[in-house]
Point group: C2
Chain length 342, copies 2
């Protein structure tokens, strides 16, 4: 039987443990990213957290200023073959036409109702905006919330046959948690609809609605027949949260320049360069979809012939390299992609 | 010398203390409002916090949903005889005219430069908007931030000869802290400029910039000569955060209906009724300026002849009574108004 350590021996062991913990916090915390392979991407995240959260270090960032922003589609979850929100809008068309039968014979609604894939493939951006406006506005914010939640609970991705909410990238979920555990406030900054993403962001990402910045329309305050006030979603665009709209939206909704930003497309360019241009330690990361087997390959890695969604250009790849952003290779950097994989 | 209590006696005392604490948490916490006199206003706040934070109680609100919104001018700090921000804008006119000399001969800038009080008193709302647009836009968000911080550090209120940042109401500061200590996220929802208030909200109220909702203009993303990206404040109104704009702004920026709201003018009517119309426990409070001696008296209490700022109407007072909002009488409910008073 080994001798029972004396109190002073115990105190020495404790002091040693504290010393060790103090000297290598980032090392200890790197276990927070178990789905990442060791490599420059994982190291960049760990180094950034270490540099900005070590008190007294030259690049220390006070907790109140720790802001990290994440694009959603293609950065936090699968965006192929179609954004979940676009599918939601297309599937809402019959209900909208039922309420307004005059739309049944008008394009682009007629094409959507026909279910004809060729006709739908030829919809222009203008057509798509008409569909978004018709299906996302004209109802109260509470009705909209209920509709989106209902749809999300039943809709399934065509490839994995799972709810969209299960198609989030496990390594990115780990980054969200790791940053939050280190005092960062995590935001979604999405080209998608702000009100749409807010319906599930808390449950899916642990990000509350007030930390979702997205493409946003106006609302109109009014009173119901019972005299109770409510808000109706209006087809008035307040913020197009893509491209330059991302840093502009970040200023509007947050009011601080992020210290870390994550994206995966040309629409994230301005957010990533704006973040990186700040002083001190700044982390800009670009997810490269180069894993055709486990997910998809598009962008500089390989262009999908049938879509342009999220593809980022060689020019953005070159800018990333030049400005010191870090590329995340799904294929090389991610040990697992989804939580449901073994 | 009294006998040393036995371990079991100590355990009994501890258990009793825990029991007492458990049975009257709100009572114990009411010490968090020492500048309030006992009365219906203080009681309404304490009861609300008790009802919404006692686990298992019928009106319990989960921490994530605890949102409280506060108007600023006249609710959190003095708004007479002139909003601090309006004074800032008027005092910025010479610098703006120096940069754009052609404005010197154009109204309303000419009247402001003259310093003629009568001419300035006759400025219309339209004139005021021209001054706000000229003094709040056309510069980068970083320059604007530096200008406001510099001004705030030196400007003094004409009556108390103190920085505006000392003219916050101590009882309301206590409410902010009390709510935060009970898991509430506190927001400013102001008709004032969002970017203006964000420059001092953290220091003055403990409210970070991302929790300030205010009248907001657009920004324009661009690049400096050094190639670095920056944002310029544009004269494009995105949100007029007054009247119906308050609940609309709350939806845009927060995405949840508040459980508690505080205001002092007709411009807060919609925010207060929207808050109160939610289910469960909701607290809507209206600050009545009825203390001509220690602060000012206006609104239903007494109209100031020379200004309409913040005055709320008898109609709003009646609505408050009818809909169960609580009136805060500065005279009766507040033991102290400012922290600098003994």
């Amino acid at each position: 039987m080994p001798p029972i350590p004396s109190v002073s021996a115990f105190a020495r062991i404790l002091a040693l443990a504290v010393l060790l913990a103090g000297s290598a916090p980032a090392l200890a915390q790197s276990d927070a990213l178990p789905s990442w392979n060791d490599g420059p991407a994982k190291q960049a995240i760990v180094d950034f957290v270490h540099a900005t959260t070590t008190e007294g270090a030259p690049k220390f960032v006070p907790p109140a200023e720790r802001i990290a922003t994440f694009d959603q589609d293609g950065t936090l979850w699968v965006e192929h073959p179609m954004y979940a929100q676009v599918r939601y809008c297309l599937e809402r068309v019959p209900a909208v036409v039922e309420a307004k039968p005059e739309l049944a014979k008008a394009e682009p609604f007629k094409a959507v109702l026909s279910g004809n894939r060729e006709a739908m493939a030829q919809l222009s951006m203008d057509d798509l905006f008409k569909i978004l406006a018709a299906t996302l506005t004209g109802i109260s914010v509470d009705e909209f919330s209920a509709e989106v939640k209902k749809w999300m609970a039943s809709a399934k991705d065509p490839r994995w046959k799972r709810p969209y909410t299960e198609l989030t990238y496990l390594p990115m979920q780990e980054v969200l948690k790791y940053l939050r555990a280190n005092g960062y406030k995590t935001y979604i900054v999405t080209g998608g609809g702000q009100d749409f993403v807010r319906q599930y962001s808390e449950q899916v990402y642990g990000i509350p609605p007030e930390q979702v910045v997205g493409t946003a329309g106006g609302t109109q305050y009014g009173y119901g027949k019972d005299g109770k006030p409510f808000l109706t979603k209006e087809p008035k665009l307040l913020l197009n949260d893509n491209d330059a709209g991302k840093p502009e939206g970040i200023h509007l909704m947050i009011g601080r320049r992020p210290h870390a930003a994550f994206g995966n497309s040309d629409g994230d360019k301005q957010m990533l360069e704006y973040t990186k241009a700040g002083d001190g330690a700044r982390l800009s990361m670009l997810v490269l979809h180069d894993d055709a087997k486990r997910e998809y390959a598009y962008g500089p890695a390989q262009k999908l012939p049938d879509t342009k969604i999220g593809a980022f250009t060689q020019a953005l790849y070159d800018q990333a390299k030049k400005q010191g952003w870090t590329i995340i290779s799904m294929k090389k950097d991610w040990k697992r992609i989804f939580a449901f994989e073994r």
